[in-house]
């Protein structure tokens, strides 16, 4: 069977790529620390030596639209073009072309349908920054095949938070039952508290630092019961009007299970708190840390 070698849950900040490309004398004061934390985080994936990446994200009204909106969708294609014109325009993100793993996509769809998730699928999917941001931070060579999985955290009515956790658990079961010799990592991106298009947007911190601190505790401790006991579709409006993206973190907690993160790190920036988590479900399969891994996280 395939080996699940790493589970990564990360915020996706579309300004990171452009910030990381600036010459030091033009970069903002927070850039050096941010880039350093990302380098440490990248190493947590590198150590797992994955062959294929299952990428969990959420389309931001790019290809998925209100006339035909899936709740959960799996890409099944040999290739994926990536990033959209308004992401190039607004964030300076590059267009990418990623390979797909159609065999794992097909297995994910068949097994997911048989395990109670009526997954939508797409054979021609241009993916957006919810998936390309983590590619650019933790696998910038973009050299591994992917299976993209999109969730709807954006266009109500949304699935309940419990459903995201359940889907995460199911994704793990499917990967661990996949008849393959490959090493699989699951990488999901979402948000902590976030406001977009409202009065609290683009403040000096995320809109609700208290929520962010609790969220980091839930995630880093693998406290699935704690998060499910405190987070509802209604409650997620309070920390910021785009905070339903936190449910992608809850999905990743479902993948990771009741397990403390092997790496947990965060960085308070303007607009959001960035947060980076890695779990190793099978620690014996992981390489020793290289000299790049610094005491920034709990690796």
């Amino acid at each position: 069977m395939a080996d699940l070698v790493a589970v990564l849950a990360t915020t996706h900040h579309p300004f990171y790529y452009r910030t990381s490309q600036l010459p030091p004398d033009q970069a903002p004061p927070f850039a050096a620390e941010w880039i350093s934390k990302i380098a440490t985080y990248r190493e947590t994936l590198t150590r797992a030596r994955p062959d294929v990446l299952v990428m969990v994200g959420s389309d931001h009204f790019h290809q998925l639209w209100l006339d035909n909106m899936p709740q959960f969708l799996v890409g099944k294609a040999p290739m994926y073009d990536a990033n959209w014109e308004n992401e190039v325009r607004e964030f300076g993100m590059p267009k990418l072309l990623l390979r797909g793993d159609e065999e794992l996509s097909a297995y994910m769809l068949r097994q997911g349908l048989d395990k109670g998730f009526d997954l939508a699928f797409s054979n021609e999917l241009r993916i957006d920054h919810s998936i390309t941001c983590p590619i650019l931070t933790v696998r910038p060579d973009a050299d591994l095949p992917i299976v993209p999985i999109y969730t709807n955290i954006f266009a109500p009515p949304l699935p309940q938070p419990e459903r995201f956790v359940q889907l995460g658990r199911t994704i793990r079961e499917i990967i661990e039952s996949w008849p393959s010799h490959l090493r699989v990592a699951v990488i999901g991106s979402g948000h902590l508290s976030l406001e977009l298009g409202g009065p609290r947007q683009f403040g000096p911190t995320g809109p609700d630092p208290e929520f962010d601190a609790r969220a980091v505790e839930w995630i880093s401790n693998g406290d699935i019961d704690g998060v499910l006991g405190n987070v509802t579709l209604d409650s997620l409006h309070a920390p910021g009007n785009a905070t339903h993206g936190f449910m992608d973190f809850m999905l990743m907690m479902g993948v990771a299970g009741y397990q403390k993160a092997d790496h947990a790190d965060s960085l308070s920036l303007f607009h959001t708190m960035e947060a980076y988590f890695t779990w190793y479900p099978n620690p014996h399969l992981i390489d020793a840390p290289s000299s790049l891994t610094t005491p920034g996280g709990r690796a």
């Binding site: 931001h60 009204f61 639209w65 209100l66 006339d67 959209w84 014109e85 308004n86 325009r89 607004e90 954006f154 266009a155 109500p156 009515p157 977009l196 298009g197 409202g198 009065p199 609290r200 947007q201 683009f202 403040g203 409006h237 309070a238 009007n241 785009a242 303007f270």
Partner: protein, 120 residues
């Protein structure tokens, strides 16, 4: 209410460079043209399959025709769609980094929780 159609306007204008510029320069004219010619277009269908019943309310039409993002917020337009299009149209008019986004937020400072429902 036709929040769906307001969102469709924001979505289709944002994803087309020429339409973004046209809406920046001539909001009222663009809204009139779009409602007459484009509102019923199902996005992956030929024109023969045009939807026959979609139209803006007067409040929605006025908000769009006057670039009134505060009114759009209060009407329940999707905040991400409005913000993204406003950045495309107006960020260039501000010199400070995030100046446009902060001005956009300041104009909404009177809004209290719960925010208007954005369900469609």
């Amino acid at each position: 209410m036709s929040k769906y159609l307001v969102n469709k306007f924001l979505y289709t204008i944002d994803r087309d460079h020429d339409l973004t510029e046209r809406y920046r320069d001539d909001p009222a004219g663009t809204v009139t043209w779009w409602e007459q010619e484009m509102a019923g277009r199902i996005l992956n269908c030929i024109t023969a399959e045009t939807t026959t019943w979609l139209s803006f309310t007067d409040d929605e039409r006025t908000a769009l025709a006057t670039h009134d993002h505060v009114a759009l917020f209060e009407l329940g337009a999707h905040p991400f769609l409005a913000l993204t299009l406003w950045i495309a149209m107006f960020e260039r008019d501000f010199t400070e980094p995030l100046g446009m986004q902060l001005d956009y937020a300041e104009k909404l400072a009177h809004v209290r929780m719960p925010y208007p429902d954005i369900s469609t």
